[in-house]
């Protein structure tokens, strides 16, 4: 079945950040330098070509962009400055919007305004709920302060109520993520008629799981030594983020306590490490994106910034909240908690399913799917070889 070429696709991709699209004359240099290229995966060249030719179908079922580690070697060595690495990044943005069946993410990527608007609306919604379900620490301060000098945060914002909100949000997020991943699976595996994957095959790669779920490892192979620092920090950030996310969504009771534990109590220690992780990460990535010292931080889509900023604010308010609590300043606790939620919720709601954050899900899954594909291809080879040997 021959596909029809389409000039508009690359114009569409323009909105996702791709710029120098028509420079490429397919010298294949990128593929040559790329560390992720393997026998059956000629990227970034193949992918770039699909974009240039506007082969929507091939592109949407293409998994390669997710295997790209954005080491940037291709862009630095490209003779035409076609910037394939950034092209791959843009395609990832594009694919996120493709996998998102709701179509919301597409809107976000296409319009800054809309995204910001949504963020504010969510913030306001959160504020209203907050004001409705919490009580302002008015009157005598002493009644808001616990025996060990910390503010009685659960009296102000009872963890049960917050937790309730968390669960609703988490529910929505998980639903969206799962459905999106399914859609991704549909696009990448089902729509690719060239391969067949049996039910049992899905469970074969289990052995390779650890390898699969550490995409960062690939950076080690890149020339850019800086990137080792990069991936360590990125890993740190990711883990910290994950930790805090799990804690607040599932163990808020344990985390949000009135009593102030000693500094080496796991609750505080864990909190601090995670916070440091977030903070260092944010600063590192922020500086990268501003001084553009790395290939992968040269070009920033506004969604990259929104994610960073929101994350930063969340972290900051989180820290303040913590100190106001342990040093018993209920009013400030009340306010910072409000702000904290007003930033945190929109961040999660917008970024997790519809934007930057979602790569945390897609990356590992793409590796998983890629692995499946490779196995399938290998299998087909063996079969066809046997076939050819027989006759």
């Amino acid at each position: 079945m021959s596909q029809r070429v389409n000039l508009d696709l690359k114009n569409e991709l323009f909105l996702y950040g791709a710029k120098e699209w028509n420079q490429c004359f397919q010298c294949g240099n990128c593929t040559a330098t790329c560390h992720t290229t393997e026998n059956d995966f000629f990227f970034p060249r193949k992918t770039v070509r699909q974009v240039l030719m506007g082969l929507k179908k091939s592109l949407q079922t293409n998994i390669d962009p997710w295997l790209c580690t954005y080491c940037g070697d291709c862009s630095t060595t490209c003779p035409r400055d076609a910037n394939p690495a950034e092209m791959m990044m843009s395609i990832r943005r594009y694919l996120i919007s493709v996998y998102d069946w709701t179509g919301i993410s597409k809107l976000f990527y296409k319009s800054k305004a809309l995204e910001i608007a949504v963020i504010f609306l969510l913030a306001i919604a959160v504020m209203i709920l907050y004001l409705f379900f919490t009580t302002f620490p008015s009157g005598d301060n002493s009644q808001w302060i616990g025996p060990d000098g910390g503010a009685l945060i659960n009296k102000i914002a009872p963890w049960k109520r917050i937790h309730f909100g968390d669960w609703i949000m988490a529910g929505i997020l998980i639903f969206l993520i799962i459905t999106n991943v399914f859609y991704m699976w549909y696009k990448i595996i089902l729509e690719d008629k060239s391969i067949k994957i049996g039910f049992i095959d899905y469970f074969r790669p289990v052995s390779a799981l650890p390898k699969l779920f550490n995409p960062e490892k690939k950076y080690a192979r890149c020339d850019e030594k800086k990137l080792t620092v990069y991936w360590i920090l990125h890993l740190f950030l990711a883990l910290s983020y994950a930790t805090l996310f799990t804690i607040i969504v599932f163990f808020l009771e344990w985390f949000q306590t009135d009593s102030v534990y000693p500094i080496f109590h796991p609750q505080r220690l864990l909190g601090y490490i995670a916070t440091v992780g977030l903070f260092v990460g944010i600063i590192y990535f922020y500086t990268n994106r501003t001084i553009k010292n790395l290939e992968n931080s040269k070009y920033s889509h506004f969604t990259d910034w929104t994610f960073l900023i929101l994350l930063f604010l969340t972290t900051l308010t989180g820290i303040l909240l913590h100190f106001f609590r342990i040093y018993g300043m209920p009013q400030l606790v009340y306010i910072t908690y409000l702000i904290h939620l007003m930033v945190l919720v929109p961040m999660l709601m917008v970024e997790v399913p519809f934007s930057k954050w979602s790569h945390m899900i897609y990356r590992p899954f793409s590796l998983y799917f890629a692995h499946l594909k490779k196995m399938a291809i290998k299998k087909q080879k063996i079969i066809s070889d046997e076939y050819s040997q027989q006759n």
Binding site: L7, Q23, F25, M53, G54
Partner: protein
Amino acid sequence: MEEKRIGVYICWCGTNIANMVDVEALSKEMQSLPNVVISKDYKYMCSDPGQDIIVNDIKEYKLNRIVVAACSPRMHEITFRKALETAGLNPYMFEMANIREHASWVHTDRNETTGKARDLIAAAIARVQWHESLEKRIAGVNPATLIIGGGISGISAALEIANAGKQVYLIEKSGTLGGIAAGIDLTYPFLNSAKQMIDHKINTVMNHPMISVYLNAEVKPEFGKKIVGLVGNFETTIKSNGEETKLNFGNVIVATGLKPFDAQKVINYGYGKLPNVVTSVDFEKILKSGVIITRDGRVPKDIAIIHCVGSRNENYNAYCSRTCCMTALKYVNQIKSALPKTNIYDIYSDMRAFGKGSEELYSITSRKNMMFLTFDHKENLPQIKQASYEDPFNLLIEFKEKFSGESIEVPADMVILMVGMEAHDDAKQIAHDVGISLCGNRFFIERHPKLDPVATTTDGVYVVGTCQSPKDIPDSVSQARAAAARVLASILVGKVEVEVTTASVNEEVCCGCQTCISVCPYTAISYSVEDKVSKVNEILCKGCGTCSSACPTGAIRSKHFTDQQILSQIEGMMSASKSKKNLIEIEET
């Protein structure tokens, strides 16, 4: 008969010969051959010191015959003849053995090659014994020049010569001057109007006092041949608009130009059947008309351009026509400026952007909002189909995209076929008329592909423009002007050396059987009734020697290629290899 004193000189040509031929051994060996007075070998015989060796030896050893074993005589025979002259020896007392092109460069076994070189040199020595001094003959040069073809090349050459105050006869087969270039709208890479450029030139030509233009002209054959005579003094009769004119001229510039490839030959493209499939030639017309619309009068939303139509494909023409790629990019720019909204698909094989401004044009164009697609120019060419009615476009091009390996279809309202250049159908006839030869692709052969791309193997005949090879306008013009310079130079010198190695009749022996007369392609031989013998007009004779081999009485000798000379060359050659040969046969039996 004076005593024969032969000098033999064997060239190393650096390592070119010495690597494959044992030069020293040979030069020793040759010493022992009859009449060889001295035999030497040297690194570069053609170098000045090399020539000096010959000159000095001629004086010192009173040599009267020289053999040089080196490269091809087509390369350096002239050089060494000059050397002989400087030494006061007749240049024709010289023979060259070609042990480079015909030995050291083409063989792999050193012994064999040396053996072959030995034979060739021995042959040359045996031949040179019978060489005789021939006197140079000088003929004047007619200052007029005939230029065949009134395209951009012809015009440029004509103006160059005429502006130098020399008469030019410009004959053009069609009714107008300007040729293909006149049919072009804009020229790449700088997108200047061709019209402005050409029209001006044409006017100057038409009104130039020194140029007489003959339109609708054809050359009338005389004795089966259309242009008779030789460098400096050609003559012909041309027929222009019914009336005949006899022309005399000293030089000929052939600028007959090209013929666009007939796109109908490529069935896949359905040119001629599908109205909206047009060739680049047609599209130039469309552009000139000022408005780009399809045959059915719509503004095209998608335009596809297909490169290498009839070029770089064994089934049509194996060569590259050089100009199509850039012309295609030119179209992209022109279409984009006329119809910014139109989608353009450029389906090419390799983008050949050589020459000033071309690569720039490519990178500028590649930034435009258009699509480059690649196809395999050798097999399964794109297939152009009529699109179905519900489709919003007119044509559908299906092919396997080379880079992505995807089989794709490209929508188009109009397809432009970039047709290549071909030699004219009557190229062979023209070549015959002016006495030059064709290469495999039926373009005229220049004298030397690198060192002499303007002249031909026939003195006084020059080839310029696309009749010699596919070219763009700048190349054609520069070649034309180069030719003009050559012609002017020969006019300036005012005299040319006429072929010396002509045929001559020994009237003592000629019995007047007249076999020779009809043999001569130049009608140089005539029968004199009173003397009852044939006579050769040495001005017309070009020395092919066909008459002397046709003469049953052996009365006609073709100078420098006499039976005696060639026979002894054969004997010399064989005598050298005989000894070796017998030995082998003894071993066998």
